[in-house]
């Protein structure tokens, strides 16, 4: 067992690390907190700069996982304890009950039978789903989940009764499992910074102030609006959309670092708006546009659209005005003038908070001042727990972590 590599996190970097290690001939245990793999990438509408859907790449990876007997997958699971050292770790995994077993065929009869609805975590709380649900339409594993809130209710019994395959297991319980591994890759990912903490943006004062990750869900066909970009207050198409960069980033009071992707994400989302709503105007408020190397071409392309304007200003205040209008105040640092601008939809480009800043690895690790994992022997950070970055960087980082892990376990 000393040759096993344990990967924590089934997002882009974790999946890459697991696949690279398994395809190089090592046994892999992959532990994922959600009921599905793919992490935050699965929630995106399109990648920048090519504007292609992330799912085509994810599907290939899922197929590789499915066909590889070396990968053992735990979903709905978290690592709660790590003992030992490089070469021989004992890892405690806590798995929450799914209440649905592998006989599930995704027929959807349990969801039809259940009446309770819950906020949909996959849509960042924008919509609701039945309490018996498929996490999203292309989820891997392709299997329903029953929310613990209905298990002991009438709805739970209805779900069980409705299932023709005997796949609903209401007495399913949380399990504690121990796995042995020679090296660990920690790819626990990131969380969008809580926009309500930037109090002068009054995030909770209007449903038309959304975050960039919510914008991804609005734009995508599987999202709460079926892919229509609308104002959540009244369902109408927005006419003047504002993007606010560095909402809680590059700020000593919030996330002091630059997340590196939000500029490109907003440029990309501006194209979502322009493509769907040819009449809409888009304004991007920024401190600096950070579109590095090949991404600069994308910036140049977006800038050429005359309905997308750029204002060099960190917005200092958002206040709801009359008739649902949102009033933004800022100082244009190019002209020096202080302005008030009216928009009917505002997208806050919130940054990436490493999950290792929110909850630490249960082992002796070193973090930098922002909570990013530093290099260690035997336990390797990968992806956005190591530094903020875009998807292809996470893939490279996952591969790199797999190589480091292999060097620990090889020859044992």
């Amino acid at each position: 067992m000393g040759q096993t590599i344990l990967v924590v996190g089934g997002g882009m970097s974790g999946v890459s690390a697991a696949l690279e290690a398994a395809e190089a001939g090592y046994d892999v245990v992959l532990v994922e907190k959600n009921p599905y793999l793919g992490g935050r990438v699965a929630q995106l509408h399109q990648y920048f700069p090519k504007l292609c859907p992330p799912y085509c790449g994810l599907e290939i990876n899922f197929k590789r996982i499915k066909s590889n007997p070396r990968i053992k997958l735990y979903t709905m699971s978290e690592v709660t304890g790590i003992e030992g050292g490089p070469g021989s770790y004992k890892v405690t995994i806590n798995q929450l009950p799914r209440y649905v077993n592998e006989r599930c065929t995704v027929c959807g009869k349990c969801a039809d039978a259940v009446e309770t609805t819950i906020p949909n975590p996959f849509d960042y709380g924008l919509g609701t789903i039945k309490a018996a649900y498929l996490p999203h339409e292309l989820a891997y594993p392709f299997r329903y989940v029953i929310d613990p809130s209905i298990v002991e209710t009438e709805d739970g019994a209805k779900a069980k009764e409705a299932c023709p395959y005997d796949a609903v297991v209401l007495d399913d319980a949380a399990k504690e499992v121990t796995e042995e591994a020679g090296a660990i890759v920690w790819a626990a990912g990131w969380t969008p910074y809580d926009a309500s903490k930037v109090e002068y943006y009054n995030f909770n004062s209007s449903p038309d102030i959304i975050t960039n990750v919510q914008m991804e869900r609005l734009a995508t066909a599987g999202g709460p609006t079926g892919g229509k970009i609308v104002k959540l207050s009244n369902g109408e198409a927005p006419k003047k959309v504002a993007f606010i960069q560095c909402a809680g980033s590059r700020d000593v009071n919030h996330l002091p670092f630059c997340s590196t992707v939000c500029c490109l994400a907003s440029l990309k989302q501006a194209t979502y708006v322009r493509e769907q709503l040819p009449e809409a105007e888009v304004t991007i408020y920024f401190i600096d546009i950070r579109a590095m190397d090949r991404n600069e071409d994308f910036y140049t392309k977006v800038k050429a659209d005359e309905k997308i304007s750029f204002v060099k200003s960190k917005i200092g205040l958002i206040e709801p005005g009359e008739n649902g209008v949102l009033v933004l105040e800022g100082e244009n640092t190019t002209t020096g003038e202080r302005f008030k601008a009216e928009h009917d939809m505002v997208v806050l480009a919130t940054g990436m908070q490493p999950n290792t800043d929110l909850s630490k690895i249960p082992a002796d690790m070193v973090y930098d001042e922002y909570g990013f994992v530093q290099a260690a022997e035997g336990i390797f950070g990968a992806g956005t727990v190591r530094r903020p970055g875009e998807v292809h960087v996470s893939v490279q980082d996952g591969t790199s972590a797999a190589l480091k892990a292999i060097q620990v376990v090889a020859g044992r």
């Binding site: 560095c246 700020d251 000593v252 009071n253 200003s313 960190k314 640092t333 020096g336 202080r338």
Partner: protein
């Protein structure tokens, strides 16, 4: 292309002589301070532009900007500054430095400061009747009387709620001194001797 050389001497002067002057280096020119300021409608430049002017070596514009004396120390900008610049300290530092150089960026504030200080120095407290009286009288008795008449309603309300004592004029009757005024004066003298520019 012709490039214009900035005069570096003024910014070095600020970094060395103004309280927290080196914080100006931290500024990334985002503009949040200027828009957070409750007095943004009154300010000509606001902190961000002042910092840019300092870096650009615009000595006269900075030292004569009324903004550096308009700051009321509410600390909103300091709290929100993404770079943690000690905005208030620099604003007051600049005002202090300007006065030392014999420049008065905003006469009203300088006068009020003097009256306010005298009240504390002489009696150990800010006398709510004495300070506005002396301040308004500084521009001459006629101006003073008209200014006070304008404030009559507020004065009456303060009097009726015992927030202010009645006086016939400045020093009539004289303000009460605190106990131990001598000790306070000693402390204030010592602090004045330690202020930047006086020592070291």
């Amino acid at each position: 292309m012709a490039t214009k050389a900035y005069d570096k001497s003024f910014r070095e002067e600020v970094y060395q002589n103004v309280d927290s002057g080196e914080d100006v280096k931290l500024c990334m020119q985002c503009g949040v301070c200027g828009i957070t300021c409750p007095l943004r409608g009154e300010m000509t430049h606001g902190p961000r532009q002042l910092w840019a002017l300092i870096r650009a070596g615009k000595r006269d514009e900075v030292m004569n900007s009324p903004d550096i004396m308009l700051c009321t120390s509410c600390y909103s900008c300091k709290v929100r500054c993404p770079r943690g610049v000690k905005v208030i300290d620099v604003m007051h530092g600049l005002a202090h430095y300007a006065l030392e150089q014999g420049i008065v960026p905003r006469k009203e504030t300088a006068k009020f400061g003097k009256v306010f200080w005298n009240s504390i120095y002489k009696t150990g407290r800010v006398d709510e009747t004495e300070v506005p009286m002396r301040y308004t009288m500084m521009a001459g008795p006629v101006h003073g009387i008209f200014a006070m008449l304008e404030m009559m309603d507020i004065g009456r309300a303060l009097l009726s709620h015992k927030r202010m004592k009645f006086k016939l004029g400045p020093g009539l009757p004289p303000s009460k001194k605190i106990k131990g005024i001598r000790g306070l004066k000693k402390m204030l003298d010592k602090a004045a001797a330690m202020s930047p520019g006086k020592e070291g």
